[in-house]
């Protein structure tokens, strides 16, 4: 493990001169402190409760490099199939913003979307108040690692009252590194929505068939009565490692909806933490994940009801084939003041093979007495009666299976408000199921 951390130190030192030329010392200190936290803490182990079922050994065993300043060879064609139009679209290759591939679309006056490296180079004081605003998170190893390598990403600012007609699409594409050394990137996304504003933010992760490591951190503040639809679409290469952490704070009567689709990656860990920090806020977490072969997808969610009259709805569904493993941990905290909380959590997993596995745990910590909290978990195989019903009408066993798996997923996919995103996600899932449930089943 010590060796694994050394490699991060080497990369950090290598990047430091460039960072020093381009930015303020306040940010430099932030990186330095985060690096120290990361090094003294180390990568998590399965002895820790939060990582009990997910060993990051495959990540620890690799030596990753930061991508060099010259953008990798990625053509507009590679990006085309991942674009969402119309949208304000920032494209990143191996964690670095590529202006030539980005499109600024149309934004209402006062709204601001900028790549983070540019912000850091031209006036990082603008974002300093928004960085590392969730101190407990900074103790998380991957969060500390992200801050240590703070460099590029996106800054989104939606002023009070602004309604964004077009979604903001942040497209992160990763490739193999030069001389076969896998690359890593640590994108940072900051989004603040002023009161009464509304926006959709989409993060897409995809890559060429290569090993790489994406460790992204998204910090979001949703102001009074503002509405955010937040999509995280993870279509990484089947060899990739993906760690994504989302921290959200909502103010009074704010609405935050997270739509998470996680289909790629060899080892994937998604953390979503939403703190409902104002009365009457609404939080929705919808998640769909699918894995085959020996891939692992771990979703940890926390909804922290800190104020009264907040509602949360959470539905996570997973499809696991072959030897794939899933982990779902859904924590709901209801603080003593959070009376009249109405929280509902559902998670279901479909196991398509005898060797597929899911570890699922709802975790309710309720300190208020006048609340409504329900949770349900179900793990199962395809319904044999339904399979026979479909086959008795002429569908083959494989067709029937695919139809039922699709129906299982559709429950979540149909909740994706943006149609192009929904269609793309359905296509991706289709492709994956064609692999997991081949026609000659």
């Amino acid at each position: 493990m010590a060796h694994a951390l050394d490699a991060y130190l080497v990369e950090w030192e290598r990047a430091r001169p460039r960072w020093q030329r381009n930015g303020r010392s306040a940010i430099g200190r932030l990186r330095q402190e985060a690096l120290q936290r990361f090094v003294s803490r180390g990568l998590p182990t399965t002895r820790e409760e939060e990582w009990r079922f997910t060993s990051v050994a495959p990540i620890a065993d690799c030596t990753f490099a930061l991508a060099g300043p010259s953008a990798a060879e990625v053509s507009a064609d590679d990006v085309a199939s991942l674009r969402i139009a119309p949208a304000v679209e920032l494209v990143f290759i191996n964690g670095r913003h590529v202006p030539a591939l980005s499109r600024m679309g149309s934004l209402p006056t006062g709204s601001h979307v900028e790549n983070l490296a540019n912000v850091l180079a031209t006036g990082s004081h603008r974002i300093e108040p928004h960085l590392t605003r969730t101190p407990p998170a900074e103790q998380q190893p991957f969060v500390a690692l992200n801050t240590a390598f703070l460099d590029d990403g996106a800054w989104i600012q939606v002023p009070a009252g602004a309604i964004l007609e077009q979604p903001i699409h942040l497209l992160f594409l990763s490739t193999g590194g030069p001389d076969d050394r896998p690359l890593m990137s640590h994108p940072r996304i900051l989004a603040t929505l002023g009161e009464n504003s509304q926006a959709s933010v989409i993060e897409t992760y995809a890559g060429t068939n290569a090993q790489y490591f994406t460790n992204v951190l998204t910090e979001i503040v949703v102001g009074d009565n503002a509405v955010l639809d937040h999509y995280t679409l993870q279509y990484d290469s089947p060899e990739a490692f993906h760690v994504g952490s989302i921290y959200v704070r909502t103010a009074c009567s704010a609405t935050y909806r997270s739509h998470s689709v996680s289909l790629g990656g060899a080892l994937v860990r998604n953390d979503v933490t939403a703190v409902l920090n104002g009365e009457g806020a609404e939080c929705t977490l919808n998640g769909l994940y699918a894995a085959d072969t020996r891939r692992l997808v771990d979703n940890h969610t926390t909804i922290d009801h800190a104020q009264p009259h907040c509602g949360s709805r959470e539905v996570y569904k997973g499809i696991l084939a072959d030897h794939a493993r899933g982990v779902f941990n859904g924590k709901i905290i209801v603080r003593p003041d959070a009376q009249k909380t109405d929280a509902k959590q559902t998670n279901r997993a479909l196991l398509l093979s005898e060797d597929a596995q899911i570890n699922t745990k709802p975790q309710l910590e309720i300190f208020a007495n006048d609340v409504k909290c329900t949770h349900g978990a179900a793990v199962g195989q395809l319904d044999e009666e339904a399979l026979f019903y479909l086959r008795s009408r002429g569908l083959t066993d494989a067709e029937a299976r695919r139809m039922l798996v699709h129906a299982f997923a559709a429950d979540v996919l149909n909740r994706l408000p943006l149609e192009p995103v929904r269609i793309r996600a359905e296509e991706r899932l289709q492709q994956q199921l064609a692999r997991s449930l081949p026609a000659a089943a």
């Binding site: 009666e385 026979f388 086959r391 008795s392 009408r393 002429g394 039922l404």
Partner: protein, 254 residues
């Protein structure tokens, strides 16, 4: 069209059918009646290929082909249709989507071209109109939240779209009010053709007031204990099943 010879079948190692002989010609309507537990539904399910039901002895030929050598989808494609006693709810699969896939699978087997969305909808609307079925049913998930009557009507609707050669109705009439029963009966009568056969599995004589069968068989304890014309159904209605079981020397309990 269907020839069943000395069929023994059961579920989970328990024998339920103990030697069924049955011959159904094209154009005929046969009714299978019998008390609860006599094996009526087992017969329907084993013919349709339900994986939990196994034929342990005997044979069944459909159009000269060994039925039990075919998987359920091959039977469906060859023209066997079973209306389920308890149609399965399938959340998330829309009726229209499912039925189009099924119809095109069956058509492909018959060497017919696939129907596109427009042609499919035209066919489906026509059948719905004939059966007095509301079009909203198409956009709902298969059987989900359907009332008992709606589920049974949906089975008949699927039959009308798929146009099987042999339709097996497994207690489709059970639990229906008179209006729904008439719709089911009308659906069957409208589809009677010289090249199509029906096997109506029913507990009650009521359906046979509306669909007149050519042959009525009485099943008791896994065997056909009597076969006759439509009058046999009326006799059963009047006298119940008890006299038959008592009067049939070939039926040995246990």
């Amino acid at each position: 069209m269907l020839k069943v010879m000395n069929l023994h079948a059961g579920v989970g190692g328990r024998e339920i059918l103990r030697g069924i002989d049955l011959s159904i010609e094209a154009g005929e309507v046969h009714a299978i009646m019998g008390p609860n537990g006599s094996g009526k539904s087992t017969l329907a399910r084993v013919l349709a290929g339900h994986p939990e039901y196994q034929a342990t002895e005997g044979a069944a030929l459909f159009g000269g082909e060994d039925l039990f050598a075919m998987d359920p989808e091959s039977r469906a494609r060859a023209g066997v249709f079973m209306a389920f006693q308890y149609p399965v709810e399938i959340p998330g699969v829309h009726n229209a989507y499912f039925l189009k896939a099924a119809l095109n699978a069956v058509r492909a087997h018959r060497g017919q071209e696939e129907l596109d969305a427009v042609e499919f909808m035209a066919l489906v609307r026509d059948r719905m109109k004939q059966l007095g079925i509301d079009e909203s049913l198409l956009n709902r998930p298969v059987n989900e939240g359907f009332s008992g009557g709606e589920k049974k009507r949906n089975e008949i609707f699927q039959m009308a779209v798929l146009e099987p050669r042999l339709a097996i109705l497994d207690e489709t009439d059970s639990g229906l009010d008179i209006d729904a029963l008439k719709i089911v009966a009308h659906g069957v009568n409208a589809m009677r053709r010289p090249d199509r056969a029906f096997l109506l599995v029913t507990h009650y004589q009521r359906l046979l007031n509306y669909v007149v069968p050519d042959v009525v068989h009485v099943l008791a304890d896994g065997r056909i204990v009597r076969s006759g014309g439509k009058e046999l159904a009326l006799e059963l209605e009047e006298r119940g099943y008890g006299w038959l079981e008592a009067a049939a020397p070939t039926v040995v309990g246990g």
